[in-house]
């Protein structure tokens, strides 16, 4: 199994802290109504998105979902344009047209996120087909939740990628709940990865709180896809500590505090910090510094976002079509 190099192990912690600090700040801003519209935090799920993205190449692509701040961050996006997007500013990565649920950063291969559950999965399959037709060895990874595995697009996509052996990774971040509906209540299988068998592709369950484990299974599946051996379905068992969408008043009746506390005991940043200390890659001060630096980066991103101008009213009309005609009427 491909094991990450020491500097990569340290970078993983840095990116996980970026994701967490970014999302903690986004939640605060949502409650303060400085961010408009829903915010779906990934706090608790950082190892899944960072472990997976860091196993990819820079020119590989990804599609995300509504809970997707972490994916571009994990792939290496600058934080300033992401935070400015959450605030709806002209300097936002999407010019204020997307917002929290729809970050896209083509500069790092993030093809976009969608608030329509399951909709990003076939788009990733198309990116895989495109890589094959263009003769590159890029792969595309589709991030989605356990809820999306009950959507028709998931099943159509797995079949399409399997029959054509496309370089696609299907990465399920199974946090146990589709909004408020538990996996057990909504899903015919215990492990989403079981569904891979129906499409004759590898299905792998991995501890989603362990960034190294996620990295290893993703790197292996990526190598397989790149070699033309076809897609894989990876399932990271993870958990979101906060609500489905913060600040929307979604009642918490569907899970108990003990369950949340149990998962908090296996915090991905703590687990990875311990690994870095155990392997003498960092001392405690060095590990603390990573957290401080990530928080400072988020502060700088927020300052940039706050200082940025609002988009011009015309901006909504200018991005409808690439070739002119038909817009703005």
């Amino acid at each position: 199994m491909p094991t990450p190099r020491p500097e990569l192990l340290i970078e993983m912690q840095r990116r996980m802290w970026r994701v967490r600090a970014f999302d903690e700040r986004a939640v605060e801003l949502r409650h303060a109504r400085e961010i408009h519209g829903p915010v779906h935090p990934s706090i608790g799920q950082e190892a899944a998105c960072v472990g997976a993205c860091m196993a990819l190449r820079e020119d590989d692509t990804l599609t995300g979902n509504h809970r997707s701040h972490g994916h571009p961050i994990a792939k290496g996006s600058e934080l300033g344009p992401l935070m400015a997007e959450l605030l709806g500013k002209a300097t936002g990565v999407c010019g204020g047209m997307g917002g929290s649920m729809h970050l896209a950063d083509f500069s790092v291969g993030s093809l976009g996120e969608t608030g329509i559950v399951g909709a990003g999965i076939p788009i990733a399959v198309g990116a895989g087909l495109s890589a094959r037709v263009r003769g590159t060895d890029q792969i595309c990874i589709a991030f989605f939740g356990d809820g999306a595995s009950n959507h028709g697009t998931f099943h159509e996509s797995l079949n399409l990628a399997a029959i054509w052996k496309l370089p696609v990774l299907f990465f399920c971040e199974n946090n146990g709940y589709a909004a408020t509906t538990s996996l057990a209540r909504a899903t015919s299988v215990e492990d989403v990865a079981e569904r891979a068998a129906g499409y004759r592709m590898p299905g792998v369950v991995v501890d989603g709180q362990d960034a190294v484990a996620v990295y290893e299974v993703t790197a292996e599946a990526a190598a397989r896809a790149r070699a033309g051996e076809g897609p894989s379905l990876l399932e990271a068992k993870t958990y979101r500590y906060l609500e489905h969408a913060e600040g929307e008043g979604i009642p918490g009746f569907y899970r108990d505090a003990a369950e949340i506390e149990r998962w908090r005991q296996r915090d991905p940043l703590e687990i990875h910090r311990q690994l870095l200390l155990d392997r003498n890659l960092l001392d405690a001060a060095g590990a603390d510094r990573i957290e401080r630096e990530a928080r400072a980066e988020v502060d700088a991103a927020l300052a940039f976002a706050r200082e940025s101008a609002e988009p011009e009213p015309r901006a909504a009309f200018d991005v409808v079509f690439a070739n002119s005609g038909g817009s703005g009427t």
Binding site: C94, S130, T153, E156, S157, L160
Partner: protein
């Protein structure tokens, strides 16, 4: 001026596809049951350019969006327009919106070929003419050829356009023959075709209603009514200038469209005339459309519903005499 020869509407579509696939290696075809094409003139392109898909309209339409985002120019054969409802999310939410939602980072140069099968007893679930839905979905371009030359030229332009284009092909016209230029003959979007000039009534017609409208105009000319027949060819973008210019000259407008009546293309064009050329109108605008009923199976029922030569001529007479 390149040479022309007679081709059918269906032949013209294939000619456009083959030309574009030959011109640009990023053009691929995706659709159900297209594997047979590899035996014919498409064989030269090899299996990596033709993706004969399982019955997964939502899946492969979404795939086309992903392929278009990453450097390909897919042509998706959606065969029957009523199947578009199965693929609404990738069409409306993804293809149409991703450029805007990504702040212009994305372009989605995909073509969705949608067959119109009304008039053949395919009944309610295979006979729809749903292009008005997509006129109302910002970010999608909508083209509807009514002649072989336009079938070729609009498809060539659609493939070269950097935006998602839905091109509705009226299968009632599949065997109609007409002159088509050899080689490249792209038809620009947003330019209506004035099929016939006239001074008394502007008759805007869409899809197979163009054929009926031209036949009606012949009848009306013998009665002394001079009809200008215009096919917008693209509904998004819409050639407002040509339509309004004609209405300002004639002062009378009839719109013939095989789509359903409510919120249809005819309604949009009528509203445009009312808003922008009210002072020039000398009669109420008339629409000749398909009533708002699910399309029946029985030929006895179905054949009465669509704009016909007779129905269009009657509407023009009413407007001319107003």
């Amino acid at each position: 001026m390149s040479e022309t020869r007679e081709l059918s509407y269906a032949e013209a579509i294939h000619e456009a596809q083959i030309l574009e696939m030959g011109r640009d290696a990023s053009v691929i075809l995706i659709g159900e049951d297209i594997h047979g094409l590899t035996l014919g003139p498409y064989a030269e392109f090899g299996p990596e350019r033709l993706w004969s898909a399982p019955i997964s309209e939502s899946g492969f339409t979404g795939m086309a969006v992903g392929a278009a985002l990453t450097g390909l120019r897919p042509i998706v054969d959606l065969l029957i327009s009523s199947l578009l409802y199965v693929a609404m999310d990738p069409l409306v939410n993804q293809a149409g919106k991703l450029r805007a939602m990504t702040g212009g980072q994305a372009k989605v140069p995909a073509v969705f070929r949608c067959g119109l099968w009304h008039g053949s007893s395919y009944a309610a679930q295979h006979s729809d003419r749903p292009y008005p839905l997509f006129m109302n979905s910002p970010g999608l371009k909508v083209a509807i050829p009514a002649t072989p030359a336009d079938a070729k030229g609009l498809l060539q332009t659609a493939v070269r356009d950097d935006d998602p284009v839905m091109i509705f092909e009226d299968r009632n016209l599949a065997h109609e023959r007409g002159p088509v230029c050899e080689g490249d003959a792209p038809v620009p979007f947003g330019q209506a075709r004035v099929h016939r000039e006239g001074s008394d009534v502007t008759l805007v017609a869409i899809a197979s209603a163009v054929r009926e409208a031209l036949a009606a105009a012949d009848d009306l000319a013998r009665e002394g009514i001079s009809v200008e027949v215009i096919d917008p060819r693209t509904l998004v973008p819409l050639d407002r200038e040509t339509l309004l210019g004609s209405v300002r000259r004639t002062g009378r407008l009839v719109v013939a469209d095989p789509a359903h009546r409510t919120c249809g293309a005819a309604a949009e064009i009528a509203a445009l005339a009312a808003e922008e050329a009210f002072d020039a109108l000398r009669a109420p605008v008339a629409r000749v459309t398909t009533p708002d009923v699910p399309i029946p199976f029985s030929p006895a029922l179905e054949s009465k519903l669509y704009p016909s030569q007779q129905g269009i001529a009657d509407a023009v007479r009413r407007v001319a005499r107003y």
